[in-house]
């Protein structure tokens, strides 16, 4: 349902134009998982932010971001607000920083749920606890009243996933969801994302710099290099037969276990 066509993005800082995305085109086929892969500064996160309309004022965008046939770039701030969360959900890199430290998890989840569904406070709380149980927070009914700093980073990411899923988006964008996690939690979070994707019938975009993550969890992949898509297609074919030198390098960068 998401179709990005020839997206150009520049940041204008002190009257100087810095090109960030060049003629970027991406499609997320219905029901599929797309992986966006590339090194730091290749424009992965900025792509996610432009789909959510979260770019800073210094950004200048042109091109089309088609969502259900409508160009999001023509949207007003109110129209953006109406699709944020309820149509497209975003999961952030650093989950602990993405939660407001002065409110309990319950407070923030109930606020989110009540904004998007017509539920009473008690119903919203019950829904929130149910969702936290689904993302494997043990003792969710008690833990929900804790503050974000009382959870580990992995748990915060589960909470963010639960909170984002509670808004029932059609498309979930996970912006390096495992960047700040250890290897075991990484696997658990990625598995959880794939699970909720099929349970709630969403499309999924996983942004990562780790080819191994993409290989395991994505149907399609787009390789980003200096703001350009250098290669895209089905994950299998790209891994078997990478055409671009940069893709080859990325694949070679996956650490392999070798025995001496």
């Amino acid at each position: 349902m998401l179709d990005i066509k020839t997206l150009n993005l520049d940041f204008i800082v002190d009257n100087e134009r810095h090109s960030v995305l060049k003629n970027l085109s991406l499609t997320v086929p219905s029901g599929a998982t797309l992986g966006i892969v590339g090194e730091s500064g290749s424009g992965k996160s900025v792509t996610a932010y432009s789909v959510m309309g979260l770019l800073p004022k210094t950004a200048e965008v042109s091109g089309d971001i088609l969502w259900k046939g409508q160009n999001l770039l023509d949207y007003t701030e109110e129209q953006w607000a109406s699709i944020r969360g309820s149509e497209i959900g975003l999961i952030f890199q650093n989950p602990q920083a993405a939660l407001n430290p002065v409110f309990t998890v319950a407070n923030q989840m109930i606020e989110t749920i009540m904004l998007h569904q017509h539920l009473s406070k008690e119903q919203a709380r019950a829904t929130a606890i149910e969702l936290l149980e689904k993302v494997n927070i043990t003792n969710a009914a008690d833990r929900i009243d804790d503050y974000p700093h009382q959870f580990s980073i992995g748990m915060c990411q589960r909470i963010m996933i639960a909170m984002t899923v509670s808004m029932r988006p059609k498309l979930l964008i996970a912006d390096e969801p495992t960047a700040s996690l250890d290897v075991t939690s990484q696997q658990q979070i990625l598995r959880l994302l794939t699970e909720v994707k099929s349970a709630y019938d969403m499309d999924l975009i996983i942004i990562s710099h780790d080819m191994a993550v993409i290989a395991e969890h994505c149907d399609y992949v787009a390789v980003l290099y200096l703001g350009e898509v250098v290669e895209s297609g089905k994950t299998d074919s790209i891994f078997k037969n990478p055409k671009h030198a940069y893709t080859k390098k990325l694949i070679d960068a996956i650490p392999k276990i070798s025995f001496l």
Binding site: M52, L54, K57, A81, S82, I83, R84, G85, S86, G89, L90, F92, Q93, N94, A97, A98, L99, N100, P101, V102, F103, E111, T112, L115, H116, T138, D146, H149, Q150, F151, S152, M155, M160, M163, T164, M167
Partner: protein
């Protein structure tokens, strides 16, 4: 907790309790004792702080003066907090042109000497405790606005603000529910220090006859009243003078103490971790 802070809290609590409770226990402080009229009496066992030239009990008048001073402090600081926080948040959050206009306006207002501005306003209006509170409040919000603006400027770049936006929360909700509580720490300190300033300003105005009007008691007009008796009855000037000094000093110590207590670096060690 330092001794200074402990002393300030004890002193201010005592003063507050006395000021709140005094009307339940005593007669009218403006009552004139005809038998004692004419010459002030020094402190004695029956009148702890002595009597003034109209035979009024100075202890009682001091506590009624505390009522005035504390009310002025709370209400004036309340007014300046409301204006300052609102202006600061708007200025910081929207930045750009709005911010530039508001900041230049604040610069202009700050360049005007507050005392003279208040004097002029008080001369034009009919001076009373209400006008004193409003005028002090309306003329002292600029510092708080700058403080809040600086906080908001850095807060709005924090990831949780983008996360709130990504959840479709309205701008108003993000500003007032999610950003506002984070600005409270410096604001509480500034408000405590501001209360000392407000008490001092009220005393100055009443001393000049442009604040609380006699026969109502206020520390400022008690001082003014004592001017004619400085040689014969120095306690009439010393008592309200000491009270003003002690109260303002205590509020400043309290502000400094709070600052240390809520400084995030000092708190860091107490963060509880419940990892799984």
């Amino acid at each position: 907790m330092t001794k200074k802070l402990l002393f300030s809290i004890l002193y201010l609590t005592t003063l507050l309790i006395a000021a709140v409770c005094v009307p339940f226990f005593s007669q009218d402080p403006t009552l004139i004792d005809m038998a004692q009229l004419g010459s002030p009496q020094p402190p004695s066992l029956s009148h702890w702080f002595g009597l003034d030239d109209l035979g009024r009990d100075i202890f009682l008048r001091s506590i009624y003066g505390a009522r005035v001073s504390l009310t002025v402090a709370f209400v004036a600081v309340g007014i300046s907090l409301c204006i300052g926080v609102l202006v600061g948040i708007i200025s910081g959050f929207f930045s750009g042109l709005v911010d530039a206009i508001i900041m230049r306006l604040i610069d202009t207002l700050m360049a005007i000497p507050t005392l003279f501005l208040i004097l002029i306003v008080q001369v034009m209006l009919k001076p009373s405790i209400v006008t004193v509170m409003v005028v002090i409040g309306v003329s002292s919000w600029m510092g708080i606005a700058r403080l809040v603006r600086a906080e908001v400027l850095s807060l709005k770049e924090r990831p949780f603000v983008s996360a709130c936006k990504a959840r479709g929360l309205s701008q108003r909700r993000i500003i007032f529910k999610h950003i506002f509580p984070h600005t409270l720490n410096p604001v509480i300190v500034a408000a405590t220090l501001g209360m000392g300033g407000a008490i001092l300003l009220e005393s100055v105005l009443s001393f000049l006859g442009l604040g609380v009007q006699p026969p109502h008691a206020s520390w400022g007009n008690m001082l003014e009243n004592s001017l004619g008796f400085l040689r014969d009855a120095p306690w009439m000037a010393l008592i309200p003078g000491c009270l003003i000094t002690l109260t303002v000093l205590s509020l400043n110590f309290l502000g400094d103490g709070l600052w240390v207590l809520i400084d995030p670096k000092a708190r860091e060690n107490n963060v509880r971790h419940k990892d799984s």
